[in-house]
């Protein structure tokens, strides 16, 4: 019985792959310009999706149906666009660009997963990222070394998260209110510090930026994408580590049990407060890394409110990814791809980048509305725990 169920998971997954292929094969570098491709692959995806649903695998099956449909539509649309435009939009740089957009989101999303899995809502990711972005620049200028910059960012993010932790764990404040205040506090504090430390608007000192993989380890220059920042590469590590820690270690089991049923966790001797504090601070540290990537990893400067909503997109990725590191990472890649595509699409096909910017939010709304497999949060998320 279980085997059969697993089988249909595979069937649905193949359906999803076919659905994606229906679209991707019509694009460069494949550029197969015939209507047969999207239609055949799309029909295949729909058939497999239906087969999976009929056997009870509703979630992935529904996903395959949706992807198959969208892939076919996308593929047919791509065939209608002339080949030169396609090649101008879909370039090799798109992968790198996607990764650059996804990296800050992925860090913050991993942080958000730790926090929410332990039962603390964290809408303060935005503020924690902003703290990281500012203190990375400050630390990098102060010490002249990007390593110190990244470390100060992590400390600052962790401290801000600690405030959120104290208010939502010990003082049992409403966690949404506290997270919201964290965002405002970070906005005010970083703006205040930035204009009082660098009154002329921009720091005159050189900001030591995070080197690329190539610059840091010359012998690795053969790796594809070696010109990407080190922080992009560590992001992959963080995602893998997050998955391993949460789902393959006792620590992860503790975090999850505290988030699902704190009373039961307490009864078996897990320190609910301790786990929650650790998770909240971890989320701050990770979100701050995302912020550090934005400032010293990418642009090399800080600007007021430079995160401009990325923390909320990370939150969307957490929810869209159903509080699972792997899926959340896929979500950040998807959102990052959307942003990476927005610029050439605006230039070549005159599709408003503002409209494309709504994509993460619309997808997340669809996800929480349960049209394609409902996103269900950890059971105790948002509820303060009172020791007895």
């Amino acid at each position: 019985m279980i085997d059969r169920y697993r089988n249909f998971k595979t069937v649905a997954s193949v359906g999803i792959v076919l659905g994606v292929a229906a679209f991707v094969l019509t694009l460069p570098p494949f550029t197969i310009r015939t209507t047969l491709v999207p239609i055949i692959f799309g029909l295949g995806a729909l058939a497999l999706g239906l087969a999976a649903i009929s056997q009870g695998e509703r979630r992935l099956g529904g996903f395959a149906l949706a992807i198959g449909f969208l892939g076919t539509v996308g593929g047919l649309w791509a065939l209608g666009v002339d080949q030169d435009t396609l090649e101008a939009v879909i370039t090799g740089g798109l992968v790198a660009s996607t990764l650059r957009f996804a990296t800050p989101l992925a860090y913050a999303a991993m942080g958000g997963i730790f926090c929410e899995r332990s039962g603390i809502v964290n809408i303060g990711l935005e503020g924690m990222m902003l703290m990281g972005a500012f203190f990375a620049v400050w630390g990098s200028i102060w010490s002249g070394s990007w390593v110190v910059g990244v470390l100060t960012a992590m400390i600052a993010g962790g401290l801000l998260a600690l405030i959120h932790g104290v208010f939502s764990i010990h003082l049992r404040a409403d966690q949404i209110v506290s997270g919201f205040a964290v965002n405002l506090l970070a906005l005010g504090l970083t703006g205040y510090l930035y204009s009082s430390i660098y009154p002329d608007g921009t720091p005159t000192e050189k900001v030591d930026r995070v080197p690329s993989l190539e610059e840091a380890f010359g012998f690795l220059s053969w790796v594809p994408g070696a010109d990407l920042s080190l922080l992009v590469w560590t992001m992959f590590l963080v995602v893998i580590l997050s998955f391993v820690v949460l789902f393959k270690t006792p620590i992860g089991l503790r975090i999850r049990s505290v988030g699902e049923h704190p009373r039961a966790a307490d009864t078996v001797g897990i320190s609910v407060y301790g786990v929650r504090y650790a998770a909240v601070v971890t989320s701050g540290v990770l979100a701050a890394l995302g912020g550090a990537f934005l400032s010293i990893g990418f642009t090399g400067r800080f600007a007021e409110n430079m995160t401009s909503g990325r923390g909320y997109i990370a939150l969307a990725a957490v929810i869209f990814g159903k509080w699972r590191p792997g899926w959340a990472f896929v979500a950040t890649l998807l959102f990052g791809f959307g942003f990476a595509l927005a610029i050439p699409l605006q230039r070549e096909a005159d599709i408003s980048s503002n409209l494309i910017s709504t994509l993460p939010y619309v997808l997340t709304l669809i996800a929480v509305a349960g049209i394609i497999g409902r996103s269900i949060p950890p059971a105790a998320v948002g509820r303060p725990y009172i020791k007895q």
């Binding site: 208010f167 049992r172 405002l184 906005l187 005010g188 009154p199 939010y361 509305a369 409902r374």
Partner: protein, 400 residues
């Protein structure tokens, strides 16, 4: 053998609305007041650490907000400057108060409507559509139509979140955050260059200006429009709606305890929907009043700089969801933002660039302390504790 659970004291109830009502009865005015004082104190420390005089800075902000007007007026001094400042403060307080009601109303239903900003913009855009059409209509009618359109727009956007909450149980905080950003980017798209609603000037990402007949009356020259009167009327409506109607009773019942409300035959889902839709209507009205009173048009960049409905969350929390509280909290935060604007603050005393961020920090601290009412109550108890020990040390040793 059965173990009786420990009696639940109000303090350990864990929903926000329950706690807030408890402290409203117990602490009344005290918690918000103490939170404000504490927030300004910490803000003052930051000012002091960065090498400025906090008392002078606060004084300059106070005067920049025109709060010295009543004093000057009573003592017969020249009130031209302070009057203008006060007008700006009252004008800025109007959308704050209205958008705060959007937060407060759903709070009373046990929902956290963080989507005021999105509802504000949708209301704004709906009103803009009406305001730029129907040229030459009599002013009362045109203004009313704009207001109706704005209310409907806001209610529509809030209603989406309400509908999702009522039907599939999607958490309103998540949906309203997402709806905020969707409204923001759709707005930026509508008014971008070659956008669907871009105005006549081809090189400006700006909407059309609304017709003269849709512009709100000025009640105090040169700045103050009738919006503040609308806000005061709506504050009364809010109180009556909550406390004197069946709808308000049901909304509050659901807010106190959804299970008990359901048990007594109140449609919880219906009230979730209604509460968020009505909240959206308040926020939509805030956007409308801003449009017909002050802005008369919208720039694309406004979507990136205007976060009035976020500040309104602080107003609602500080005002404890009561009409009077929201009115004064709205004045306070409006004064804080007007008093720190580069136009009203003397840069010799305190740079406006810093002061704006200081205002944001103070808002954040106020939210922290109001949200953590336990902290304030601890401090309060500690004080009484010490007081008791000092007066009667021998007879009543303080419990450890």
């Amino acid at each position: 053998m059965t173990v009786t659970p420990p009696a639940q004291t109000p303090e350990i109830e864990d929903t926000y609305s329950l706690r807030s009502t408890f402290y409203e009865r117990a602490g009344g005015f005290f918690v918000p007041f103490a939170a404000t004082v504490l927030a300004f104190f910490i803000g003052g420390l930051v000012v002091l650490i960065t090498g400025h005089n906090p008392i002078e800075a606060y004084r300059a902000i106070f005067e920049g907000a025109g709060f010295n007007w009543p004093y000057q007026w009573l003592t017969g001094q020249d009130t031209t400057a302070s009057g203008r400042d006060l007008q700006q403060t009252l004008r800025a307080a109007t959308p704050l108060i209205l958008a705060a009601l959007a937060v407060a109303f759903s709070f009373r239903c046990g929902l956290f409507n963080i989507g005021g900003q999105g509802q504000y913009w949708v209301g704004f855009i709906f009103a803009l559509l009406v305001g730029t059409h129907f040229e030459g209509m009599p002013r009362p009618l045109h203004v009313t139509l704009c207001i109706v359109a704005g209310i409907l727009g806001g209610a529509f956007w809030g209603g989406i979140a309400g509908f999702l909450r009522a039907t599939v149980g999607a958490h309103e905080v998540i949906t309203t955050i997402m709806l905020n950003w969707i409204a923001l980017y759709v707005g930026k798209w509508l008014f971008e260059l070659d956008g669907p609603l871009q105005g006549a000037a081809p090189s400006l990402p700006r909407s059309e200006v609304i017709d003269d007949s849709a512009i709100l009356w000025i009640i105090w020259n040169p700045y103050l429009h009738a919006g503040i009167l609308i806000a005061i009327v709506v504050l009364f409506i809010y109180t009556l709606l909550l406390n004197r109607t069946t709808l308000g009773y049901e909304v509050r019942a659901v807010g106190f305890n959804p299970e008990a409300a359901r048990y007594s035959g109140i449609g919880v889902r219906k009230n979730y929907f209604l509460a968020l839709a009505i909240s959206g209507a308040f926020a939509g009205l805030a956007g409308t009043v801003d449009l017909v009173g002050v802005k008369h048009a919208v720039d694309q960049s406004d979507f990136d700089t205007n976060f009035v409905a976020f500040t309104a969350i602080a107003v609602a929390l500080l005002g404890r969801n009561t009409a009077v509280g929201i009115f004064f909290a709205g004045l306070l935060f409006a004064g804080l933002s007007v008093g720190t604007s580069s136009r009203n603050l003397d840069p010799e005393i305190f740079e406006p660039a810093l002061a704006t961020d200081l205002a944001t920090m103070i808002q954040a601290l106020v939210i922290f302390f109001v949200g953590a009412d336990l902290l304030i109550v601890y401090i309060w108890r500690l004080r009484r504790h010490l007081h008791l020990r000092r007066t009667q040390p021998a007879e009543e040793p303080a419990p450890s």
